[in-house]
Symmetry: C2
Subunit: 317 residues, 2 copies
Amino acid sequence: MNTQYSLGIDIGGTNTVAGIVSRNGEIISKTSLPTRGHASFEVFLDALKTATDKMLAQHSNLEISGIGIGAPNGNFYNGTIEYAPNLEWEGVIRVAELVEQKFGIKTVLTNDANAAAIGEMIYGNARDMRDFIVITLGTGVGSGIVCGGELIYGHDGFAGEIGHTIAIPGGRTCGCGRKGCLETYASAGGVVKTALEIMDALPGKSVMENRRTQLKAADVYQAAIAGDEAAILTFEQTALILGASLANSVAHTSPEAIFLFGGVANAGDLLLTPLKESLEENLLNIYKGKVQILRSGLPDADAAILGAASLVQKYLK
Amino acid sequence: MNTQYSLGIDIGGTNTVAGIVSRNGEIISKTSLPTRGHASFEVFLDALKTATDKMLAQHSNLEISGIGIGAPNGNFYNGTIEYAPNLEWEGVIRVAELVEQKFGIKTVLTNDANAAAIGEMIYGNARDMRDFIVITLGTGVGSGIVCGGELIYGHDGFAGEIGHTIAIPGGRTCGCGRKGCLETYASAGGVVKTALEIMDALPGKSVMENRRTQLKAADVYQAAIAGDEAAILTFEQTALILGASLANSVAHTSPEAIFLFGGVANAGDLLLTPLKESLEENLLNIYKGKVQILRSGLPDADAAILGAASLVQKYLK
């Protein structure tokens, strides 16, 4: 018998993935199912149980000591998913309680960006750090803020929405209904919007012109690698705005490092090099030269499972 | 013998005050001396010891269990004052260590705004709160951020500089060398600048016209109470900018309340009423209706001593 294994479950807008994770972050096995198309959360939960039971049956020698769940709008304090705009279930769902009952295993839940931050702390590049921020640059911009070794949840469990700090007052309209949120500039969709704006200013010059109507952030990255001026400017512009916003975050919690994760972060040095400059330029003097900008140490494909599984090590041991 | 007393010392730019404080926040006795005009920190320390010894001699029945010090640019981790622009001592001063040696009493130090936040938690209006922010609106704009009952110090001990988050990109030049810091709008000097700008836009109409060249924030407050339009607009404008900035702070740490302290906060409802509206207007939906804006519960005259003394209860018990 071995009690060093966790079950990590990431409930995403499209797919839910689950994996058995060892104490040192090795994924023993994983499975997935669609998050959408179930009549209710309970029906989804039946499907999740079936899928994970099948996986667990192949590893019946391993004892699972806890379940960790990452989910959009997940509330750590209540174990709930609350009014998640990208999920089909409405209102407040008591996810941790229902999963714990169904599986008979202690369960802890938090939002996906917070799980990414704890994953970084337990399995990733923040293992020796007590003060850092993880920013996820994907469909949205999420964040998890760690201070003194603890994730900041705030009074209501919803702290850490750096993607919804205002980067440009009166700027782009955000899905949240306000204007100028960092998310509208630093998400995948934000990068595409910036690329289109730059192409308007530099007409006819970009290799991206021929896919204007279906441009994706990954296309901008490919174009930038190929030396396309508009694409390179896009990441520079994104870095300018992100660096200025992150300087404000540093003034709040003074982290040792800020980790970038998600699709936009895959642009690597095209984003990181100008971002380091922009952050440094925007920092208050006392912080200059003290804050590292780093890539996440979690492998893209398994980060969601590892983040979810890390909750077990952080909170259930 | 009674071991329930602390010595609180606040080192300010002009004066240093020290007081004997009981466990429940009663100030038994206090004394003060000029911070400036001493040849070195060691000479200042001699003068401080002389002044406090005289006070302590009158209360020789009380045992002082610890010394807490609040100071500009105070670093909690190191017990140092580091490169404080408003003090005469240059570089890094090992204040806590030198005071502890001199007095033979355990000593802890942090910056003045952090001390205000801990004072609020120990003696003030945040006694039942675990997640809150204290903003000091005075000569500068300082802040102390408390999450899960602990003050956020960050990697280097200098977290919580909300006064140096950018409120208006490209805005007013700040003493820190950057542009648009919240401090340039919400400090006493910032309020005066705003009043002058509004008087320029509404020429001849304000009772403040006759003291244009020596206008102080307190004059703006007096004019506003008397119904002066430019003065009332000044606080409304200050509230708009401060509310938008604080909405970004809420997105970081999701506090239960934000406490205002300092000269500008003394404007009371002239500032608080429009500030509550502005914050609510600017908050991301999930935070709306959840964050209180409150006045500090510490009496103005004694807040600095109480903040400093509270460090003993928080860290040395």
